[in-house]
Amino acid sequence: MQTAPKSYSAYHKEIDEALNDEQLRKTLGTYAVNYRTNRANVMRDVDEKGLIRAIADFKDEAAAHMEELYKQFKEEAEKRGAHVYLAKTADEANQIISDIAKREGVKRIIKSKSMTSEETLLNHKLEADGYIVDETDLGEWIIQLRHETPSHMVMPAIHLSRYQIAEDFSKVTHVKQDPDIDRLVKVARVQLRRKFIAGDMGISGCNFAIAECGAITTVTNEGNARMVETMPRVHTVLVGLDKLTPTIDEAMIALQILPRNATAQRITSYVSWVAGPTKWLGSPEGQKSMHIVFLDNGRTKYVKDPIFKEVFRCVRCGACTNVCPVFTLIGGHKMGYIYMGAIGLILTYLYHGEDKAKYLCQNCVGCEACHNVCAGGIDLPKLIREVRNRLVDDGNGDMMGSLMKMVMTNRKLFHSLLRFASKAQKPVTGGTQFQRHLPMMFMKRHDFRALPAIAEKAFRDLWPNIAPKVSNPVARVAIFAGCAQDFIYPEQLIAAVKVLAARNVAVDFPMAQTCCGLPLSMMGQRKGVQDVARQNVRAFVDGNYDYIITLCASCGSTLKFQYPTYLANDSDITSGVLDRFVNKITDFSTFCRDVLDLKPEDFTNTHEKVTFHGSCHQCRALKAAGKSRELIGSAADYVACNEEEVCCGFGGTYSVKFPEISAEIISRKVKNIVDTKADRVVMDCPGCVLQIRGHAEKANAGIKVTHLSELMAENILPK
């Protein structure tokens, strides 16, 4: 049985195991690259965004009417001769199914893949009650032989090699099997056909339970689900209430995205639509019986939750795992309890409780890659942060979060501490930009990057002396600095001010601004985020600004996309004030490209070879990576980089909590950058500069790492 980590130290141990599993790393690493390419290829012939929107809409609607749809489904299915049950809990569902087996005189059960049956741990119950249960999906069969659990929703045995599987198959067949994939597939063909024939009851899952006609659909490739549904006399279906779908039309919409997202197929080999028990020709009486067990297990509760209800848009395609940089390194066994990946972190909390979710839910870097591909457009990172919020609400947060909240919500205290650190660090920086001689508290795990020094003088302290005078400005802007640029990398802002002033933009810097709140949001400190969010909105709201410019993609996306949630229905900040603030937030690249219309003629092109790191929030939240690339191309020679838009592994507090994973992600990133043979890599986020420059320094990568603003400031021509 799968377990969930009970402490950080236990979890780190498990993660280390996965990181040292070369086979797992190789398979997942190759898969991640191939998946991205193949998915993009098959998405080209559909309106991806439109279909995802349509899925989100119908799933929202279906979730809101779950109980009515259940009634309608039940009526239609019963009309066609099926029996329909509703189980409140996982145990109840298992009991119902065991009772059906007993009533029907079943001995042998054959199963096709069902994550819902993993959720209820159905096999344990049926085996304990004396039934012979055989999984028939190739991947599920393999892991059943090994007494393991799925490590991926669609490819349950993705963590295993052909050599391991050949060994398992040799044992079960008592014949030496070659590690040849085609041959191994045929072993399953030969071994399982007799089980299909001998099975008394088939258990399948269900992708869409269609209310208008009481049909269940299964979306499969191997053909085992059709065998499970056809060969035995009894067909039992276990299905979550969230799979209820109003009509065939919605299923047809979702079927255009589900296989594309799951396995980069236009459609799977088979989609079965079973509406009631058909004639069964295995005996002269000739009638099949069909039982459909719906599982609640928290679904009707969370469907009323204003934030978590979004989770019911999930169609279990597994795309969120396929693109997750953390999953790619450690696999599903270490990134979930039953369900894995981004959706798994959330469902573990909803279906299996706080205890199981407490440490697992911390293992998200917040890179937005999952949000960007989700078939239902679920804002997965937001829901994962919400799980952390609820843990803190219930007194299950950690000390680091509470301390951060205490310090960061008190701007004056926070900034004095940073100024103090600037002085106190002298013995460790040796006057360089890095903290070279770190005290013992920084353990070996954190040694993968050189940490930056706090700047001698913060940007806010330099501002009075560097604020440019602009007459008849083309636009009035205020800079939102964020902590990293204010206190560590003021030069990135100084460079931006130079570019803006050169194009006659009036710049202001409101002193009352503070941390954007993202670090607190990542720690589940909802109240802390709300506190700093109010401070920031107030700091800017009265100024006469056309735009509020951010040079940190993470801050920018927090202000623009998280504030509306955190400050919704706030008693202090009215929605009008909030809207005005949010609408003015503009990232530096978008402002320079779209508002100032900077083009090649605005720069001296030194033909320096410059590559790009697309920061997570720049690519997937602000959606401005293309603009950054255009600006690079105007000021230098842009060189494309492999996996340019993949996360660098920083994630703020993430890299402190999971340094071993962060280290692996950044080393792959820097290797890709070095492979471009560029002279410099630029990005629109100081967090990424910290991570990439820090690792490049440790690895002696010999590449210059700067903010995009610095490249632009070096090359901008005076008007």
Binding site: I181, A188, R194, M231, Q256, S269, V271, A275, L281, G282
Partner: protein, 209 residues
């Protein structure tokens, strides 16, 4: 019923081929049946994936199981006239042509013939009513699945066949299947392989009206 749209036929053909299906245009039903009989005779003998005590067995197949000496085609969906026509051709060549009792041959048959009521061009998919267990098994336990599809019944995409699905599901108990290419898996090291629990190969015969 709309007339044949050559663009849809072309798209359907390309998409079906992309998932390892063989697509052939046949001018008549007679030609289709000839195609099926030839295919059955030219393929390797069918492997027996389960015990069939009274069946005449040939040498072991590639998966080290006995093969079936008698060639078998299942074509349970055909109407009386069409079945008689195919059966006659089969008898001439010594092939057993099944119309019912397909379950008895669950260890494996050479070829199963199905008829689609609609095609989906965007993915090379066939929509097959398979409520009759014999019809369903024909496309599941055969080594080669052959589906006959009228060119004029090819639609652009899945939403455009929703009404046909609705009709096929109907008001009573039913089983309908969307079929696209042979059975496949990528469960071992994400490497795609065909022929897991269903057919090893698939042929689609495109017919004029």
């Amino acid at each position: 019923m709309s007339n044949t749209n050559p663009e849809l036929v072309e798209k359907f053909t390309a998409m079906a081929k992309a998932v390892a299906a063989t697509v052939a245009e046949v001018p008549s039903r007679e030609e289709a049946f000839k195609y099926i009989v030839d295919l059955t005779l030219s393929k390797d003998p069918c492997e027996l994936l389960a015990d069939e005590p009274d069946t005449e067995k040939g040498p072991l197949g590639p998966n080290r199981v006995p093969t079936r000496v008698q060639r078998v085609i299942a074509a349970p969906s055909l109407d009386d006239e069409a079945f008689a026509e195919l059966d006659k051709l089969c008898q001439e060549k010594g092939i057993l042509c099944l119309r019912d009792n397909v379950r008895k041959y669950a260890a494996g048959i050479d070829l199963g013939l199905n008829e689609a009521v609609a095609g989906v061009a965007a993915s090379g998919t066939c929509l097959c009513p398979t409520t009759d267990e014999n019809v369903r098994l024909a496309g599941m336990i055969s080594e080669i699945s052959v589906i006959m599809l009228k060119k004029s019944t090819i639609y652009p995409d899945l939403p455009s066949v929703a009404h046909i699905m609705r009709e096929a599901i109907g008001q009573g108990a039913s089983f309908t299947t969307l079929i696209t290419g042979p059975s496949r898996t990528a469960d071992i090291e994400c490497v795609s392989a065909v022929g897991v629990h269903g057919p090893l190969a698939m042929h689609i015969l495109l017919l004029e009206d």
